[in-house]
Symmetry: C2
């Protein structure tokens, strides 16, 4: 894999490593030195003797080692000469952090062309320019030049995230960290002078740490190749794409943002559908879908949804949403209805949505979740659990994960609240039970699960037919 040096380099040089704490080159160098990154790190700076106590080298050629990866954080006009150094040194991969290229107009575009001409026919692969590069929580490669007190790094997990926009990527990463969402690899691709989403999908399809891939793009240059690899990816891993610039206004904005021609909404929709990829319509949907698709199994057959709740209102709204999206509620089997009737208090009517009523405790949840999850008519379980009552303790998390593990049915949680709720949401997230703050978002995530299953079936049919 020619992209491997970006994610697992045994040696890294930071061109433009600086002694000044606020400079990008300083932050990036510090990320490598102070983390558990296993490889060697070399700061390149002709004006410094040492940086953070490590010997600095005036240029790449002075480094007494082979180099897998170079991170370039010098002003745009100097980047071509840094690339020259990379080529002489036979560096395998370079991340160009610097801005000031295609996105600022003609002068910058010329610099990009100059770099492209230099690297043609070489083995050097480039991510960027105008990007924040790579974050890999497994290998601790971290070229994000934003300090951790501003941009908290998310923990390791199964979701890969490719973003054309660096600011979009960093904002979402920071948010993901606060939600305890796990990331396998993050790549900001910027102006895509070389490595683009097609290359990355080719790499990530075989990445054992990635089980679901999210993408934010404003343009896809290689449409045919994208369709091909996207179709391949979706056979083994869900792929969710948020496309910016799908309206004339958005497309115009994209042009001045990453210098991209955005292309028509219809074409993208068609391509994504054909590939079996999910299109996120909003920023929320990108990770709402990713979390359910990465964590939960697909429903085995086209069976109904069971809703279990301790808040009647949330049950009502969920049932509304199920209906609006054309999904169906499960009809509980006579056996299940009998079990529920026998065990639940009189005032909890055995019906779907199953309202366990405000005084439900963890035992009542445990019983009800086992009853509905074992029902052959139930394909998916939506657990609404409002944690404002003191009847429910944190072991409701165990009740949910256990019934999911026992019956293997996709299980989704809806809960909203303050600190206690947020703590339980993180526990659920670590147990790979995705949780959503509103019934609408939870049911929409269920819809994504059903749609992905349908997309796989359709592909299978096309193959046979």
């Amino acid at each position: 894999m020619d992209l491997e040096p970006f994610f697992n380099p045994s040696s890294v040089a930071i061109i433009g490593a600086s002694r000044e704490p606020r400079k990008f080159g300083h932050v990036i160098f510090k990320n490598f030195v102070e983390s558990e990154f296993k490889g060697k790190t070399y700061p390149i700076n002709p004006k410094a003797e040492t940086i953070l106590g490590l010997k600095a080298y005036p240029s790449l050629k002075d480094v007494p080692d082979e180099l897998d990866l170079a991170v370039i954080a010098v002003p745009a006009p100097i980047v071509p000469s840094a690339i020259d150094e990379c080529l002489s040194k036979k560096v395998k991969a370079a991340v160009i952090i610097s801005g000031g290229f295609r996105e600022v107009g003609e002068k910058g575009e010329k610099l990009e062309i100059e770099i492209k001409e230099k690297t043609e026919g070489s083995n050097l692969r480039i991510i960027g320019p105008n990007c924040i590069g790579v974050y890999d929580p497994a290998s601790h490669v971290d070229t994000l030049f934003l300090p951790t007190y501003r941009l908290r790094r998310p923990r390791a997990g199964p979701i890969a995230f490719i973003s054309q926009s660096g600011a979009f990527g960093s904002a979402v990463l920071d948010w993901a960290a606060s939600q305890d969402i796990g990331i396998s690899k993050f790549i900001s691709i910027g102006n895509k002078i070389d490595v683009d989403e097609v290359d990355l999908l080719n790499y990530l399809v075989n990445d054992p740490l990635t089980s679901c891939i999210t993408v934010y793009v404003e343009s896809i240059r290689r449409g045919r190749e994208f369709l091909k690899i996207a179709s391949k990816v979706t056979e083994s891993k869900p792929l969710i794409v948020l496309k910016g610039g799908i309206t004339p206004e958005g497309a115009h904005a994209a042009l001045s943002h990453t210098g991209s021609l955005a292309g028509s909404a219809k074409i993208y929709k068609g391509v994504l559908e054909q590939a079996g990829a999910m299109q996120a319509q909003t920023v929320d949907e990108l990770f709402d879908y990713a979390r359910v698709l990465a964590y939960q199994p697909l429903p085995k057959e086209q069976k109904g949804i069971a809703i279990v709740t301790n808040g009647g209102g949330f049950g009502v709204i969920s049932a509304d949403e199920v209906s609006k999206l054309g999904l169906k509620l499960a009809n509980f089997s006579p056996e299940t209805l009998k079990r529920l009737q026998e065990k639940l208090p009189d005032y909890a009517i055995p019906h779907n949505p199953l309202d366990l009523v405000g005084d439900a405790d963890v035992e009542r949840y445990r019983f009800a979740l086992n009853a509905v999850s074992s029902d052959p008519n139930v394909g998916i379980v939506l657990v609404i659990v409002l944690l404002q009552t003191s009847y429910i303790e944190s072991d409701v998390v165990d009740a949910i994960t256990e019934s999911q593990a026992t019956y293997g049915k996709p299980t989704i949680v809806c809960t909203i609240g303050g600190e206690f709720t947020q703590m339980l949401v993180k526990m659920l997230e670590e147990d790979h039970i995705p949780s959503y703050v509103t019934p609408e978002r939870a049911v929409n995530a269920i819809n994504a699960l059903i749609k992905y299953r349908k997309a796989l079936e359709d592909k299978e049919k096309r193959r046979i037919g």
Copy 2:
């Protein structure tokens, strides 16, 4: 105002006040005793001498004082006799917390009828049963029987919130507290044996602490009266309604939840439109709309939206959303374009969305916000500010509130991230600048502002025409 005793009682009796910390009657009594509630509080319990150090009374008639409010937290079958005591004592208002009425079937319905017959012709007003009652952060009336470590109480603010569902209400209150959203009054109306949304709107329309009203209902029994008061309310205060049970599945769930017949989606939509009220389609929208309508002025004329951002991708997605919703971006005036061109760095192209680029600092925001806010073509300002870069410090909040205060144009923020972001969001919230985590929700909130303005214009036209 006959509902005043619910919100500003000078004396309260808690019928069913208990010594056991987990009992509802204990939590409610504690809320009154340990808060800054100014009135007198009397615990009613025939089996206790004192509760929390205060003398307990065997029954209401033993209380040596007039009583404005009684909170009833005893089992359903005993509630009619508690009501008898209220009537003899000439209590003005009662909140029946207890469940076990209409929502559990025939037996409970009979109890409701019994209570209704008893109170007919009296001056006693009743909220509930099957509810969590009233929370008023100004007077410190707090009948929520959920302990504060589970359900944090939101601070005082301009948004009133009426919820037919207690669990829905408490979950949303807890969440509102965590977001620093201010509430004027919260009322959970439950089975609505007496006081319903119509009565509460009649009261809240004149409440000086309330500038915006949110409602979650599953049924509205008095449709004609509702239309009348809703129309009156919207002349001075925005009214946002989330209706549960608008599909057959949801309506069926509502029947077993609050025993309500839900009524058709079309009728509700028509009534709300005619009244000039906003219909929230989702739980998110209820408070997304409330916060912008409560805090921000209406745009003066049908002018365009200016978008200022330091994240190009978020600018692109916002422009997409503006277009999808049929809104329009402002064309900056030649003067504004000239000012921007002169002052901004080369690589920030003067265009709407205005991408200030990743290295924008607070000064650049301050300049840009003043430039676009003073542009006569701009009616509304959307400020996207991603706080992962260390160029931006917390005084960006001042830059935003100052340009809003100087030019008086509705100003909305979009930002997403971890701890630092969440801190600034709370600062903005306290300064009455609503903030949204995604561009889609921010633009949707702007749409609500424009729609409300349009609804007021339409009403004005109907009045003249």
